[in-house]
Symmetry: C2
Subunit: 305 residues, 2 copies
């Protein structure tokens, strides 16, 4: 039977995931909950972790590697930022050890771009990058990690040189829930990345990016004048925001650098379709696998496993 070697934790703002990893690298057990930073800050990070460790019968002295918001200022122990340009391989060694606990528990740092004109930060995505690194065989890659705050990262020979955050996911939620457009998309289901409405919106905003906030209003005027359906109105909003992000990321990228899309499920399909509209065929890396692989790289760097 495979012996447990370490515990890996991806601790986001609103979600918590834990894996018990065996000495051969296999996943022995997994836990998911909504005890993210916000919830854990109220109940105690140590207690949340202890409960889940116990649930998978992890020995009390098993080391733990953590990435994400547990290292934020409002998190468990602040893990700071590594400044770019930063070699991905150095990230594990900048982890902060949680004091006054029996086990060796370490929290990985984020990355910071300390640029007065274009400051930027990430926390959690650096671990996905570390996990995807094995797939980044090109000298230069532009890595897209879509989400609430999408990250586009320039990686060259294992070095993160620059990155940009686009607020696409959070803007979509704010627009869909808190503006007049909510009436035009009522009860629409998930956006279909293959739909004409989505692809046309992506193509239109790439052609005409300064019109972005006007194109969004087309979800309402289209519903009023042209009978645009709620599903198509929602696809229009999503396509406009994702298309603007892709246009901006490619504008800021090195022309011709291969694009790596680190994503899973429905969001991955939307971005794959939107990138196709922009004439880009990305290499695809599964985001769930990438974060676990990144935590594994960190664990192997820190401990003799």
């Amino acid at each position: 039977m495979v012996k447990p070697a370490y515990v890996a934790v991806d601790w986001g703002t609103s979600s918590f995931r834990l894996w018990l990893i065996g000495s051969d690298g296999s996943v022995l057990a997994e836990r998911r909950s909504n005890e993210g930073m916000t919830a854990a800050a109220a109940t105690g990070f140590g207690a949340v972790l202890a409960n889940h460790r116990q649930a998978v019968s992890a020995p009390a002295d098993l080391p733990v590697i953590i990435c994400g918001m547990a290292g934020a200022r409002q998190g468990w122990v602040e893990a700071g930022y590594l400044d770019v340009p930063a070699a991905l391989s150095t990230i594990p060694f900048a982890a902060v050890r949680v004091p006054d606990v029996a086990a060796d528990i370490r929290i990985l740092p984020g990355l910071a771009q300390r640029d007065s004109a274009h400051p930027d930060v990430m926390r959690g995505e650096e671990t996905q990058l570390l996990g995807a690194l094995n797939d980044l065989t090109d000298a230069h890659s532009l890595v897209c990690m879509p989400g609430t705050h999408s990250k586009w990262v320039h990686v060259a020979d294992g070095l993160v040189t620059r990155f940009h955050t686009f607020m696409t996911g959070e803007l979509f939620d704010a627009v869909a829930r808190h503006t007049i457009l909510k009436h035009s998309i009522a009860d629409a289901g998930a956006v279909d990345g293959g739909s004409d409405a989505f692809r046309q919106a992506v193509e239109e905003v790439i052609r005409n990016p300064t019109a972005a906030t006007s194109l969004l209003f087309g979800a309402r005027s289209g519903a009023l004048l042209n009978g645009l359906s709620p599903a198509d109105a929602k696809a229009l909003i999503s396509g406009t925001l994702i298309g603007l992000e892709i246009a901006g990321a490619l504008d800021a990228g090195q022309p011709g650098a291969p694009v790596v899309l680190v994503a899973s499920g429905a969001l991955g399909s939307l971005y794959e379709s939107a990138l196709d509209c922009a004439g880009v065929k990305p290499m695809i890396v599964d985001a769930d696998n990438a974060v676990r692989a990144g935590l594994a790289v960190a664990a192997r760097s820190l401990w003799a496993l």
Copy 2:
């Protein structure tokens, strides 16, 4: 003593304004309340109007001219849309009369751009345009009416040929209240259009429009890394959204067409400063005066005053 000639009403989504106008065109009395369409739909449009007429002692048979959301489908009586291209002078004659009431009460229509690729609608702003028309002496003008849903209108020889709605004001509210950026702007006061933070944000997004939703995130990363103040973070968000709107409107405009800014107060100052960053010196028309002047043009067109 000047005799009252008609009642003019600007009936928005959330606000109600009424003026009692004399036979010489002067304002004899004014009323403002928050009984906009949303509130009046619950209590009854007729009752709201009757109360305010009584408060200014308007004779029961005095005619009433109304613009705005009272003419929307969810309003009092649907006043439809006039399709562009539309001569501004024909707007009054498309007004809809409220049935089954003692007085002659008419509601002005909105304007619709029935274009499958760029459908658009306005309701209320057409009356401001009508009022500003006397100031539109140039053969071609690009008229900016900033607000929750900013309108940019192409007017040529009294004809509205085309217009675009930008969701700037509503997006600002959604971003400032319902995204992570709310933490970076906590307790900041009104945005100063003359501040470096505002002007730099406008200039940056004009130079780099595809980066818009990434520049917004700078309000957070700037606060985390560079000590950006809440006031400057709020100015950055406002400048980015207004700058993107101006870039889009100018891109869609006829090069060199004079810009007319129909606005009042603080919002007018913000747009004047942002337009200055884009190298545009607009002619300025007061928005409050414009809507009253537009209602007066409509009243004189409809009735022998």
